[in-house]
């Protein structure tokens, strides 16, 4: 069942399209349930049943403004799992080769001396969305500028989004998910986790309305990045503003495979992440070699002294 105006799928319980607000035809939604509305506090997270009789929109626990959650606002589970294509042993090897790429200022014996505490396979929670959009934009850039270094430009461009990954993970940071995003193959998606039996499955702990808001934000953010870098003429851009009309927005909830590794160097613990499907994507925290940094600093200082001495002797 899709929206007649923007072709985005309607979910059970939707009485209006979440994208363009066109009402769903009567009778298409599930029979009106008598579930109570939930008032969720933005401050303390408390959820209370909403009643017209004795609560306004303030939280009874802390008095902060609370927001009403939709009655049909379920927390949904993953629809599928991408399989692991990297074994724990390969992940550990990937960690060592990543350590070798870290550069001069890291301890030389990092890869040799580091001991791996644990390698945890996990499926982190995320959405993949696809959509069509018409983006109306306006911005200043250096192209065609006159007395000022800026000139205004505008445009309207259709965009297609295919399988853009949006993080629903609390365990991995947004930056970590962004670095993992590129390496996933969307084949052999299974309804249950396969392969890594001991892998933890992260739960989607946001409700549908919140999920939609996060995805809407991601659509806007992706469209903005593409407009700024690919649509506005010129090399430098400022005041880029966009309006996005989304159509046929579809999103799916998946578990994405990754390893979180903890390793020790000296007496300190560090954390690293290895992609579950592409061992070339590995990153994390690593110690710096104080000895090498000091050495370079002294070397530079000595060099400066020598140059000063030579110049003043002239």
């Amino acid at each position: 069942m899709s929206c007649a105006r923007c072709a985005s799928p309607l979910e059970v319980g939707d009485i209006r399209c979440a994208v363009c607000s066109l009402p769903a035809p009567a009778g298409s939604d599930a029979p009106a349930r008598t579930t109570a509305s939930i008032l969720r506090c933005d401050e303390c997270g408390a959820a209370v049943t909403y009643s017209a009789e004795h609560v306004g929109t303030r939280c009874p626990f802390c008095g902060a403004v609370a927001h009403l959650e939709q009655p049909a606002d379920p927390i949904e589970a993953a629809e599928g799992f991408l399989p692991f294509r990297v074994s724990p042993a390969e992940a550990a090897a990937a960690l060592r080769s990543w350590m070798d790429t870290l550069g001069f200022f890291r301890p030389s014996d990092l890869a040799a001396k580091a001991t791996v505490d644990h390698i945890r396979p996990l499926f982190f929670a995320g959405w993949l969305f696809e959509a069509d959009a018409l983006v109306s934009w306006a911005a200043d850039s250096d192209a065609g500028s006159g007395s000022s270094e800026w000139a205004p430009h505008s445009g309207q461009v259709p965009m297609r989004f295919d399988n853009v990954l949006v993080s629903a993970s609390r365990g991995l940071s947004a930056q970590e998910v962004a670095r993992l995003a590129s390496g996933f193959q969307l084949t052999n998606i299974a309804p249950e986790p396969v392969g890594a039996t001991e892998a933890m499955v992260e739960r989607f702990d946001v409700q549908r309305s919140t999920a939609r808001a996060i995805i809407a934000n991601a659509v806007h953010g992706t469209a903005y990045a593409r407009t700024e870098s690919g649509q506005v003429p010129g090399r430098r851009v400022r005041n880029c503003h966009i309006s996005v009309m989304v159509q046929a927005l579809q999103s799916r909830r998946y578990g994405f495979p990754a390893y979180v590794l903890a390793y020790r160097y000296g007496d300190k613990a560090y954390r690293a992440v290895v992609h579950g499907q592409d061992a070339a994507i590995a990153f994390g925290d690593a110690p710096l070699s104080i000895r090498k940094i000091l050495l370079v600093a002294f070397g530079v200082a000595a060099l400066v002294l020598i140059i000063v001495a030579v110049l003043s002797n002239r």
Partner: protein
């Protein structure tokens, strides 16, 4: 009175249905001159309803806060006003959505700095100096815009015109439900008394205002002026929705008709047109004039 009976107010024109409530006064104008009439079969059925979230006691509390927080030029009686006729009513409104397109043009101001040379006389000698001044280069920009208008709500009631409804908006439309008789049991509902066409025209007007603000935010540059646009709306859709309102009569003077206070039945936002005190305004004007006159006299009096 059966549930299907309607009452028409002879004073303000509202047509009301009383679902299990017993009242013979119009909730909008408190007029007792309401007449029973059969329900009109050709009226559209509501599609959606937004439920009450503010109780009567809470509405009264908000009304008292409203009377206490009026400005100094308000009629003195407002502070001591009594609140009469608290009525909860489901107001008919149209929820309008469409796809809007616009072609716009504007003048975009791009600032730049210029170094200016100027002459200044210092100790009798003329020196040339420089300073940095900011100038603005104006460039014209034209463009196209397209997007959805999603949550435009306009009153379909003659009893409570759209301007008054706008003053207590927004409603949280995430809590919209499909209409059923059971949801309005025990409340008064008003039947739409405005034609769909007129309401859609109002909705387009509201959408245009929103579009103006959207385009204003879209404009680049350090500043802009002369923003103009033409717009048109496609794939329009309007659903009849019942929205909850508390309507209260604030009696501030026995001789005068009461002031109508409208409270958003979902959020508690209150709006009313407080009567002004002409006496207080006149005193303020006279005092200001006296102060100015005093200052002028004082200035003249100096050597």
């Amino acid at each position: 009175m059966s549930a299907d009976d309607s009452l028409a107010c002879q004073d303000c024109g509202a047509t009301l249905r009383f679902h299990g409530t017993r009242t013979t006064r119009c909730p909008y104008c408190a007029s007792p001159s309401v007449l029973a009439r059969p329900a009109s079969p050709d009226l559209p059925n509501p599609d959606f309803v937004v439920a009450f979230g503010i109780s009567e006691a809470s509405a009264l509390e908000r009304a008292k806060n409203w009377t206490r927080s009026r400005g100094v030029f308000t009629h003195g009686g407002i502070l001591r006003a009594s609140i009469e006729d608290v009525r909860g009513v489901y107001l008919p409104a149209y929820l309008y959505t469409s796809i809007g397109s616009a072609s716009y043009s504007a003048q975009i101001g791009e600032d730049y700095q210029e170094i200016e040379t100027y002459a200044e006389t210092v100790n009798g000698r003329t020196e040339m100096r420089t300073r940095t001044v900011t100038k603005t280069e104006w460039r014209s920009l034209t463009g196209e815009w397209q997007g959805y208008f999603r949550d435009v709500v306009v009153s379909a009631s003659r009893g409570l015109p759209n301007a008054e409804l706008e003053a207590v908006e927004p409603f949280d439309l995430r809590l919209l439900r499909r209409f059923s008789e059971a949801q309005v049991q025990g409340w008064i509902t008003e039947e739409p008394s405005m034609q769909l066409g007129a309401c859609v025209a109002d909705a387009r007007q509201e959408a245009m205002q929103g579009l103006g603000q959207t385009l204003d935010r879209l404009m680049p540059g350090d500043s802009h002026s002369d923003l103009q646009f033409t717009s048109h709306f496609e794939r329009e859709q309007a659903s009849l929705v019942l929205v909850p309102c508390w309507v209260l009569a604030v009696r501030y003077d026995k001789e005068k008709p009461p002031v109508r206070l409208v409270i958003n039945g979902q959020t508690g936002k209150a709006w009313g047109k407080a009567p002004l005190s002409w006496l207080r305004i006149a005193i303020a004007v006279l005092l200001t004039a006296a102060v100015i006159a005093g200052l002028v006299v004082a200035a003249r009096g100096r050597p």
